[in-house]
C-alpha cells in the first residue's frame, strides 16, 4: 500500500466505526452490515481501477448492487445468479478490450526479490531506465538522462507532460512504453530525433505533429496503448 491508499483505508474504517455508533443513536433505518459490506466492496472497486483488474471492479459492483437490492427496488427484477453471470461476462469483455495490468502483484514480487533499491534508482530522471507512474494527478517530468534506453510511463485519471529536450539517447536507441488510460500524456521531443510511433488506441486519440527526422540518429520507438485518453507528441 502506498501513503495515499493508507489514508483512504484509514478514513473509511474511522467513518464506518462512527456510523456503527451513530445509526442506532439517531434511530436510522439502515442495515449496518449491508452498509459495511457495501463500503468494503466499493473500496475494492476503487483500488483496482488503476490496475484495470476488471474482474475485481465489476464483480464487487454486482455484489454491492445485490446487497442493496431492496434500496434500489430491484428485488423482483434481478436474481442473484443472472446478476453474477452478467458481471462475469462484462468482466471478460472489458478485459479483452482493455487489457488488465496486475502490476500490483508484479510489483510485490519485485520487492520480495530484494531489488527494491534498483527500482528506486530507476525512478531517477538521470538514469538510462526511467519509470514514471502518475494517477489521479497532474505532473510535468523533465528527463535529463544522457544515455536514455527506456522510459515506461503509466498515466491514469490525470495528465503527464514529459520533456525530452535535455535528454540524449543511447547509441543503440531507446523506447518509450506508454500506458495511458482515462488520461492525457504529452511528449515534447526534439524535432531532429529519429522517432517512430507505434501506439494503439481504443476510444482514445494519438496526435503527432509533423517533423523531419534525421535517420542517422539513434531511433526512439514510442509504443504502448491509449485507452479513453489522449497522447500528443509535440516536436520542438
Amino acid at each position: 500500500m502506498n501513503k495515499k491508499t493508507n489514508w483512504l483505508w484509514g478514513i473509511v474504517f474511522i467513518a464506518v466505526g462512527v456510523m456503527i455508533v451513530l445509526v442506532p443513536m439517531l434511530g436510522l433505518s439502515i442495515n449496518l452490515m449491508h452498509m459495511i459490506w457495501t463500503v468494503l466492496l466499493l473500496l475494492c472497486v476503487v483500488s483496482n481501477i488503476k490496475y484495470r483488474n476488471w474482474f475485481l471492479i465489476v464483480m464487487p459492483l454486482c455484489l454491492a448492487v445485490w446487497i442493496n437490492r431492496s434500496y434500489l427496488q430491484i428485488e423482483d427484477v434481478l436474481s442473484f445468479f443472472p446478476l453474477m453471470g452478467a458481471g462475469v461476462f462484462v468482466s471478460i469483455g472489458l478485459s479483452i478490450i482493455f487489457k488488465d495490468h496486475s502490476y500490483r502483484y508484479n510489483h510485490i514480487r519485485y520487492h520480495r526479490s530484494g531489488k527494491h533499491a534498483d527500482y528506486t534508482k530507476q525512478s531517477s530522471h538521470d538514469e538510462s531506465v526511467i519509470n514514471i507512474d502518475t494517477a489521479l494527478s497532474g505532473s510535468a517530468q523533465y528527463i535529463h538522462s544522457q544515455n536514455l534506453r527506456l522510459i515506461t510511463a503509466e498515466v491514469s485519471l490525470g495528465s503527464l507532460q514529459l520533456y525530452l529536450q535535455q535528454a540524449k539517447l543511447d547509441p543503440e536507441g531507446a523506447t518509450i512504453k506508454l500506458d495511458v488510460s482515462l488520461a492525457t500524456l504529452t511528449l515534447y521531443i526534439p524535432k531532429e530525433w529519429n522517432t517512430q510511433v507505434d501506439v494503439s488506441s481504443s476510444l482514445g486519440g494519438v496526435d503527432e505533429g509533423f517533423h523531419e527526422r534525421d535517420y542517422n540518429l539513434p531511433k526512439l520507438l514510442i509504443t504502448g496503448e491509449v485507452a479513453l485518453g489522449n497522447l500528443e507528441i509535440i516536436y520542438i
Binding site: S124, S137, G138, S139, A140, Y142, H144, S159, Q161, Q165
Partner: protein, 153 residues
C-alpha cells in the same frame, strides 16, 4: 518626479535617497521595488556537462528537482545546480516562489495558470513550451504574488 544619478568616489558608500513631500503609495511601491531588486543573489553558478556557467537568475524560469539533482530551467535549456531547493529558497530574490515539493518558479516569467480538476494547477511560462504544476497548498499564495508582480518588474 525627476530622476537624478550622482557618481561618487570609490571610498564612499552607495545609497539611494528618495526626496518626497509625502509618503504616498507610489513612493512605497518604488521603495519596495528597489528593495526587491537589491535583495537576493544576482547570478548563480550552473553546470552543464563539464562547463561552469554564471547565469543571471532573472533568466531562469524555474528550478525542479528529481531524486538526486536540482536543475535550473531557462527558456530552451536546463542546467544542474549544486544547491538543494531549500537552500535556493533562502538565497533567491523574492520573485522566486516555491510551488510544490519539487519546484521553485520565477513568478515574473509566468504567463498563465490553468486550474485543473486534479489537485494541482498548470503554470505556463512566457515564450517557452515548458510547464510546471502548482500544488493546491501553494495555489492561493501564488495567485496573490502574481497580482503583486508589478513590484518586481
Amino acid at each position: 518626479m525627476k530622476i537624478h544619478i550622482e557618481l561618487i568616489e570609490d571610498d564612499n558608500d552607495e545609497e539611494i535617497v528618495i526626496k518626497t513631500k509625502d509618503i504616498t503609495k507610489e513612493i512605497k511601491d518604488i521603495q519596495k521595488f528597489i528593495q526587491n531588486r537589491l535583495k537576493g543573489v544576482k547570478r548563480l553558478v550552473l553546470y552543464k556537462g563539464e562547463e561552469e556557467l554564471y547565469v543571471p537568475v532573472e533568466n531562469i524560469l524555474f528550478f525542479e528537482t528529481s531524486e538526486d539533482s536540482v536543475y535550473a530551467h531557462t527558456k530552451n535549456d536546463a542546467y544542474m545546480v549544486k544547491h538543494r531547493l531549500y537552500e535556493l529558497e533562502k538565497e533567491l530574490p523574492e520573485y522566486f516562489m516555491r510551488v510544490s515539493k519539487s519546484t521553485i518558479i520565477n513568478i515574473t516569467k509566468v504567463m498563465s495558470i490553468q486550474k485543473n480538476l486534479t489537485s494541482s494547477s498548470l503554470v505556463r511560462f512566457m515564450n517557452s513550451v515548458k510547464e510546471v504544476y502548482v500544488s493546491r497548498m501553494y495555489y492561493k499564495e501564488l495567485k496573490l504574488r502574481l497580482h503583486e508582480r508589478s513590484y518586481y518588474e
